[in-house]
C-alpha cells in the first residue's frame, strides 16, 4: 500500500480503504525498518500520530481539509517546524526547537498532511551527496534494490555486501531516499544549485524546483537567498503538481514571492506534441557526461521528435561559467547568512567565554564543519572592499548573462529545454568521498545550477535504469512561472518511459515486491 502514488493513496483514504492512523503507523514502522538508510534525522512519531488521529476524525465527519489530508509527508531538516527539532545537520543547531513553522510546512499541515519527520542532508545543505552532515551519510535505497543487486553480483564486486552502498546525491538526499523507499508520499527538499533534482535523479523519483518567487522561503534556513527554492520530491509528476498547488502563492512574510495569484492545476495526459518545441542545449554535452546518460538523452529527444514535436538544438553559451559564478555568489551569501550563528540568541554556544570575541570564535569553530567554514571564509574574501568588484559584481554580471541566455532561447519559441540531470548514475560512498565536497558540488551541479541562476522552474523525471541497474533522470527546464506547461510535458514523458519501480529486498514483505510497471521496450 505504501508504494502507490500520493494521488492513489488520497483516493484510498477518501474511499475509506485505509485510515490516516493506519497509514501513519505503517509509514512509521517502515521508517524504523529502513533506519539504516539514515534518511531521517528526527522522527516526529507522537505529533505524527496525533495529526493522523485528527485527520481520521475529519474523514469520519466528512470534513477533510484537502487532497493532502492524512497523507504522510517528510520535510528536509532545514525547514523550520514549530516544536520539532530543526538541525540543518549541524552541531550549530543540534537541539534547536524552532518556535515557528516555515510557510511551506504550515501550508502542508493546514491541508491536513501528517508530518512524519525531518530528513537528512548535508550540513546547511552544502553538498551534493548528503554525506556531510553531523548525522552521517544517507544511503541510497537503490543500493538494496533487486535491480542493482542482481547487476552487481554479475559484476562480482560484492564480497562485502555493505561496503558498496550508494550515495543519494544531495543535499536533499534524506527526502529523496524517504520518497524512494516508500516511507512517505511526498517530501520537501530545498534547491539552490540542484539539491532537490540531483538526489531525486539518483534515487529514481521526481524532483521539482519551482520558479523562484512562486513558493515562500519563509522558514527555510537559507543557503543562497537569491537562488533557494523549496523543492518537491514525489513518486510521479502528478503528485508534484498536487503538492505544488498547495505550496505556491504569495506570502507576505517573503517579499520575494510574486503577488499574482497562483491557480492550482491538474495535468492532462494528452498533449499535442506537434505544437511543442523542445530545446536541446548543446553546451550540456559536458565533459564527464556518461555515454549511457548521453544515449538516454538523445533517445528522449527522439521520442519527442517522433511524437511530432520540434526538437531544436539551442545554445546557452554562458552556462559553462555557471559553476564558478555560483561559487562566488553562494559563498558570499553563505558568509552573510551564517553571521547570525554567534551562540547568543540560539543554537550552540561554546563554553569558552573569556570574552565575547573568544566565545564567537569558539562557537563557530565548534558549530560548523569544514565545508561551512570554508565557504564562510571564501565568501568573506569575495566581499572584501578590495575584492567586491572583481568577484562579486563580476559574478552578478555573469549571472545576468546566464539568465539572458535562457530568455533568448525561450523568446525564440522554445517551450521546454531537455537536458540530463546528472552526469551519470550514482556511485558508491567509498568512491564519492575520494573527492572533497567542493569538487563534488562543482561536478554534480553542472546541469542543474543554471536554472537556479535564472530562477527558472525545472523538474527531473526518472527515465531509465543504467547498466548497473541504477536510476537515471532527465531534466526539463521551463519558462518562468510556466509550471503547468513544464509539468504537462514532464508527465507525458513520464508516461512514455515507464520507469521501473524500485524492488526493495529485505526491507518489505517480499510478497508485496511486485513490479507494477514493465520497462518500456523503448528504453530497455
Amino acid at each position: 500500500m505504501l508504494r502507490v502514488s500520493l494521488r492513489e493513496i488520497s483516493a484510498a483514504l477518501k474511499e475509506g480503504r485505509v485510515s490516516p492512523t493506519e497509514l501513519c503507523q505503517r509509514c512509521l514502522s517502515f521508517i524504523k525498518a529502513t533506519k539504516f538508510l539514515n534518511a531521517y534525522i528526527t522522527i516526529a512519531e507522537d505529533t505524527a500520530l496525533k495529526q493522523a488521529e485528527e485527520s481520521e476524525e475529519r474523514y469520519r465527519r466528512g470534513q477533510i481539509l484537502g487532497d493532502l489530508d492524512g497523507i504522510p509527508v517528510a520535510v528536509k531538516d532545514n525547514f523550520n517546524t514549530a516544536g520539532i527539532e530543526t538541525t540543518c545537520a549541524s552541531n550549530m543547531l543540534k537541539g534547536y526547537i524552532p518556535p515557528y513553522s516555515a510557510t511551506v510546512v504550515q501550508k502542508l499541515l493546514d491541508q491536513g498532511a501528517v508530518l512524519l519527520g525531518k530528513t537528512n542532508l548535508d550540513e546547511f545543505a552544502m553538498g551534493s551527496g548528503s554525506t556531510d552532515g553531523i548525522f552521517g551519510p544517507v544511503r541510497n535505497p537503490w543500493s538494496y534494490s533487486r535491480q542493482y543487486r542482481e547487476k552487481s553480483v554479475q559484476n562480482s564486486h560484492t564480497e562485502n555486501e555493505d561496503s558498496n552502498w550508494l550515495v543519494t546525491g544531495g543535499s536533499s538526499g534524506g527526502s529523496a531516499a524517504a520518497v524512494s523507499s516508500f516511507t512517505c508520499f511526498a517530501a520537501l527538499g530545498s534547491d539552490t544549485g540542484g539539491s532537490t533534482r540531483n538526489p531525486a535523479a539518483h534515487c529514481g523519483v521526481v524532483g521539482l524546483k519551482p520558479t523562484y518567487g512562486l513558493i515562500s522561503r519563509h522558514g527555510l534556513i537559507p543557503l543562497v537567498n537569491s537562488m533557494d527554492v523549496p523543492g518537491i520530491l514525489t513518486r510521479c509528476v502528478d503528485d508534484a503538481a498536487i503538492v505544488l498547488g498547495v505550496l505556491a502563492g504569495h506570502d507576505p512574510k517573503d517579499s520575494t514571492t510574486v503577488q499574482d495569484p497562483f491557480k492550482p492545476f491538474e495535468l492532462t495526459s494528452f498533449i499535442d506534441a506537434s505544437k511543442l518545441c523542445i530545446g536541446i542545449p548543446k553546451e550540456y554535452h559536458a565533459p564527464g557526461l556518461s555515454s549511457e546518460t548521453l544515449a538516454l538523452w538523445s533517445k528522449a529527444a527522439d521520442l519527442f521528435e517522433n511524437a511530432g514535436a520540434k526538437v531544436i538544438e539551442v545554445s546557452l553559451p554562458h552556462t559553462r561559467y555557471s559553476i564558478i559564478c555560483y561559487h562566488v555568489l553562494c559563498t558570499a551569501e553563505v558568509a552573510s547568512n551564517m553571521a547570525r550563528f554567534d551562540g547568543l540568541e540560539y543554537g550552540h554556544r561554546s563554553s569558552m567565554d573569556k570574552s565575547t570575541e573568544v566565545m564567537y570564535a569558539a562557537t563557530r569553530r565548534e558549530g560548523f564543519n569544514d565545508v561551512v567554514r570554508g565557504r564562510i571564509l571564501s565568501g568573506n574574501y569575495f566581499l572584501l572592499k578590495q575584492n567586491y568588484e572583481t568577484y562579486f559584481i563580476k559574478a552578478q554580471k555573469v549571472r545576468r548573462l546566464i539568465a539572458n541566455d535562457f530568455v533568448n532561447v525561450f523568446r525564440n519559441g522554445i517551450d521546454v529545454l531537455l537536458t540530463p540531470t546528472t552526469l551519470s548514475d550514482t556511485i558508491p560512498y567509498v568512491e564519492f568521498i575520494k573527492e572533497d565536497n567542493r569538487t563534488r558540488s562543482a561536478q554534480d551541479d553542472i546541469f542543474t545550477q543554471a536554472a537556479n541562476m535564472a530562477g527558472l522552474p525545472a523538474i527531473t523525471v526518472p527515465t531509465a535504469l543504467s547498466e548497473k541497474g541504477l536510476p537515471i533522470g532527465l531534466q526539463f527546464i521551463g519558462r518562468a512561472f510556466q509550471e503547468q506547461q513544464l509539468l504537462t510535458v514532464a508527465k507525458w514523458f513520464e508516461n512514455q518511459v515507464k520507469f521501473p519501480m524500485i524492488q526493495l529486498q529485505g526491507m518489505m514483505d517480499h510478497g508485496h515486491t511486485v513490479c507494477r510497471h514493465q520497462k518500456s521496450a523503448f528504453f530497455s
Binding site: N80, C88, N225, K253, S255, T256, A332, S336, Y346, L383
Partner: protein, 551 residues
C-alpha cells in the same frame, strides 16, 4: 562666521586618552568613514589667528544624524516600537534573527523617509536598494545591519538654519547645509555591560527599529552652527511627525566629522565624534574637538583619523577603544528585499492597490507647513520680530499657546509676544516646566491681558495678578483683581489728590524737575505707583504730574 567660538581658551582639556571607558550608542558607531572632505574655496577665512601668527584655523564640520522613525512597528517586522518597555519584550522572531526569518518592509517607515526627504528638498529616488553591512556585535543579532549603502531613498537636499551672531548675539543669520542623502536602516539592540559580574546583557527591544540616517555635507564650521542645524532638523522631523526626535530618548543621535585646516590648504585629517546624545552638549563637544585638534597641531602633533566619544561629565572627547575602527563591512545587496520602488502620480500604474504603493506626490501634497514657513507666517501675521518667531517654534507648544492667547484677546500680538516671551517663558524656564505644564492657561493669560488692554488694571497690577496665577489655585484674573482691589483708580479727583500728596512729600525731586531734569519725573510716577500699589495708569499719572509741575 562665528569667529568667537574658535578662541583657544574656550575649553580646557582636562582628560587624556583612555581615562574613561568607551561608551556605546547605536549602530552608527561602527559606520564607515564617509569619503574625505572635499577641497573647496567656499569657506571664508575670518577665524582668529593661531598663536604664532600663522594663517587662522578654520574648522570643517559634517554631521551624520540618526533619527528613529516614529512608527507603530519596526522597519522589517511587526514588533511594536516603544521607549522604555521591559527588556526584550518587543522582539519578534525576525528581530532575534531566528534562522529562516525574512524582512518585510514597513510602509510607514518608507513614507516617513519620503516625507523627510521632501521636507529637506531632496530628490526622492524612485528606486532604492537595501544592503547588508556586516559586523559582529552582541546587540546585532543577524551579524549584519540592513541599510541603504548603494542607492538611498533620498539624495541631494538642503537644510536652512538660522543662528544669532554678533557680539551681543542679536543678529540673526541664515545658513544652508547640503544634505547628501537620507537612508533607511535598522537600529541595533542595546548592550548593557555589567563590569562587576563581567557580563554583557542584551536588550533587543530597539533592534530593528527604523532609522533615517541623514548625512549632512561638511559645510559647517562650529559647534554652534551644527547645533542650530540639528535643532532645525529636529523641529522639521517633529513637525512632520516622521520622528519624535527626542535626543534624551535616543531618537536623535548625532555623530560629527570634525577637522581643522588653514584656509586655502587641503582639509585636515578628520575625527569622528560619537555619542553626542544631548542637544546641550552638541555644540560643546564639537567645539572641544576643534580646539583639541588646533592645539594638537600647534604643538607640532598630528590629528589621527579616529573615532572619539564625547564624555559629557568631563566635557571632552576621548578616543573610543574600538577595535573595529578599520573594519571592512563587506557590504552585500540584501537578497531578501526587492528594490524599493516609489511612484508619483504620473508613474503610478493603473488599478494599483493604494495600500501596496507609496506615491511621492500624494505625500508632497499633504506635507504640513515647515518651521521656516511657519516663522514667516508668524512674522507676517502678527508683526512680531523674526527672532521671536524662532523662540515661539523652539519651545514645544509655545507657538500654539501664543496663537491661542492672541485669538482670545484684543491686545495687539506685538504686545502679547512680550508677555509670552518675557513673563511666561521666563517663569517656565525658571521652574523647568514645559509649556503644556504651565499653571497658567492661555485663557487666563488672555483674560488678564484683556483686563490690561481695557484699562481695568495697570501693567504692574497685571504682573501682580500673574504672580498670583502661577500658584495655580484656579482663580480667574478678574477674581484676583477684585480680591486684591487692583482696579485702576478711575476717579480723576482722587488721582489728583494722590499726585499732589506725592509732590508735597518730595519737594527736592519737584525742584529738580523744575530745574529741567525731566528724568526725575519717572521717579515721581514710580512713587505714585507704589503708593497705589500699581493701581494707576502711568500715562494718566504722567499727565497729571506734568500739569501740576508746570503750574
Amino acid at each position: 562666521m562665528a569667529a568667537s567660538i574658535l578662541r583657544r581658551s574656550l575649553l580646557t582639556p582636562r582628560c587624556r586618552a583612555g581615562d574613561v571607558a568607551a561608551l556605546h550608542s547605536g549602530p552608527s558607531r561602527r559606520r564607515a568613514q564617509a569619503p574625505g572632505p572635499i577641497a573647496s574655496g567656499r569657506r571664508a577665512a575670518n577665524s582668529p589667528a593661531g598663536e604664532r601668527g600663522v594663517a587662522p584655523w578654520v574648522a570643517v564640520v559634517g554631521l551624520e544624524i540618526h533619527a528613529q522613525i516614529s512608527s507603530n512597528s519596526k522597519l522589517f517586522s511587526g514588533s511594536q516600537v516603544q521607549f522604555a518597555a521591559p527588556p526584550n519584550s518587543l522582539v519578534s522572531f525576525f528581530d532575534a534573527s531566528l534562522p529562516g526569518t525574512l524582512p518585510a518592509l514597513n510602509r510607514r517607515c518608507v513614507e516617513a523617509a519620503v516625507m523627510t526627504g521632501l521636507a529637506l528638498n531632496c530628490s526622492i529616488n524612485k528606486k532604492s536598494l537595501f544592503d547588508r553591512k556586516h559586523y559582529f556585535y552582541a546587540d546585532l543579532p543577524a551579524g549584519y545591519q540592513i541599510t541603504q549603502q548603494r542607492l538611498p531613498v533620498a539624495v541631494n537636499g538642503s537644510l536652512s538654519y538660522s543662528l544669532c551672531v554678533g557680539r551681543k548675539k542679536n543678529q540673526m543669520v541664515t545658513r544652508t547645509v547640503r544634505i547628501k542623502q537620507i537612508q533607511l536602516e535598522q537600529d541595533s539592540g542595546k548592550s548593557l555591560h555589567d563590569d562587576i559580574r563581567s557580563q554583557t546583557l542584551i536588550d533587543l527591544n530597539r533592534a530593528g527599529v527604523g532609522l533615517m540616517e541623514v548625512v549632512m555635507e561638511p559645510e559647517m564650521s562650529s559647534g554652534e552652527e551644527a547645533a542650530a542645524a540639528v535643532r532645525e532638523l529636529q523641529l522639521i522631523l517633529q513637525t512632520l511627525g516622521s520622528s519624535q526626535a527626542i535626543m534624551a530618548e535616543g531618537q536623535l543621535r548625532v555623530d560629527a566629522n570634525v577637522s581643522v585646516h588653514h584656509p586655502g590648504e587641503a582639509y585636515g585629517v578628520r575625527t569622528e565624534v560619537k555619542n553626542i546624545n544631548s542637544a546641550r552638549f552638541l555644540a560643546r563637544a564639537i567645539d572641544y574637538e576643534i580646539q583639541r585638534q588646533i592645539k594638537e597641531l600647534e604643538n607640532g602633533g598630528t590629528v589621527m583619523n579616529e573615532t572619539r566619544a564625547f564624555d559629557f561629565k568631563l566635557g571632552c572627547t576621548i578616543p573610543m577603544r574600538d577595535k573595529e575602527g578599520k573594519q571592512d563591512y563587506r557590504f552585500m545587496p540584501e537578497p531578501n528585499l526587492p528594490p524599493l520602488i516609489l511612484y508619483d502620480t504620473k508613474s503610478l500604474p493603473a488599478n494599483t492597490n493604494h495600500q501596496q504603493v507609496v506615491n511621492i506626490d500624494w505625500i508632497r501634497e499633504r506635507l504640513p507647513d515647515l518651521p521656516s514657513v511657519r516663522r514667516v507666517k508668524l512674522v507676517e501675521q502678527y508683526g512680531i520680530l523674526p527672532e521671536h518667531s524662532f523662540t515661539l517654534l523652539n519651545e514645544d507648544g509655545l507657538m500654539e499657546f501664543f496663537e491661542s492667547v492672541v485669538r482670545q484677546t484684543q491686545m495687539n500680538p506685538k504686545k502679547v509676544i512680550g508677555w509670552i516671551l518675557n513673563d511666561m517663558l521666563g517663569y517656565l524656564k525658571q521652574h523647568n516646566l514645559k509649556v503644556k505644564e504651565s499653571p497658567v492657561s492661555s485663557l487666563f493669560l488672555a483674560d488678564l491681558l484683556n483686563l490690561l488692554e481695557r484699562g481695568t488694571i495697570s501693567s504692574s497690577a497685571a504682573k501682580q495678578v500673574l504672580e498670583e496665577l502661577w500658584k495655580g489655585e484656579g482663580k480667574t484674573p478678574l477674581q484676583i483683581v477684585k480680591e486684591k482691589k487692583l482696579e485702576l483708580i478711575q476717579d480723576q479727583q482722587e488721582l489728583e489728590q494722590i499726585c499732589q500728596a506725592v509732590m508735597e512729600g518730595h519737594q527736592e525731586e519737584v525742584m529738580e524737575i523744575k530745574k529741567g531734569n525731566q528724568k526725575v519725573l519717572n521717579k515721581l510716577i514710580g512713587l505714585v505707583q507704589r503708593t497705589t500699589r500699581g493701581r494707576v495708569d502711568p500715562v494718566l499719572v504722567k499727565q497729571i504730574l506734568e500739569k501740576r509741575l508746570s503750574q
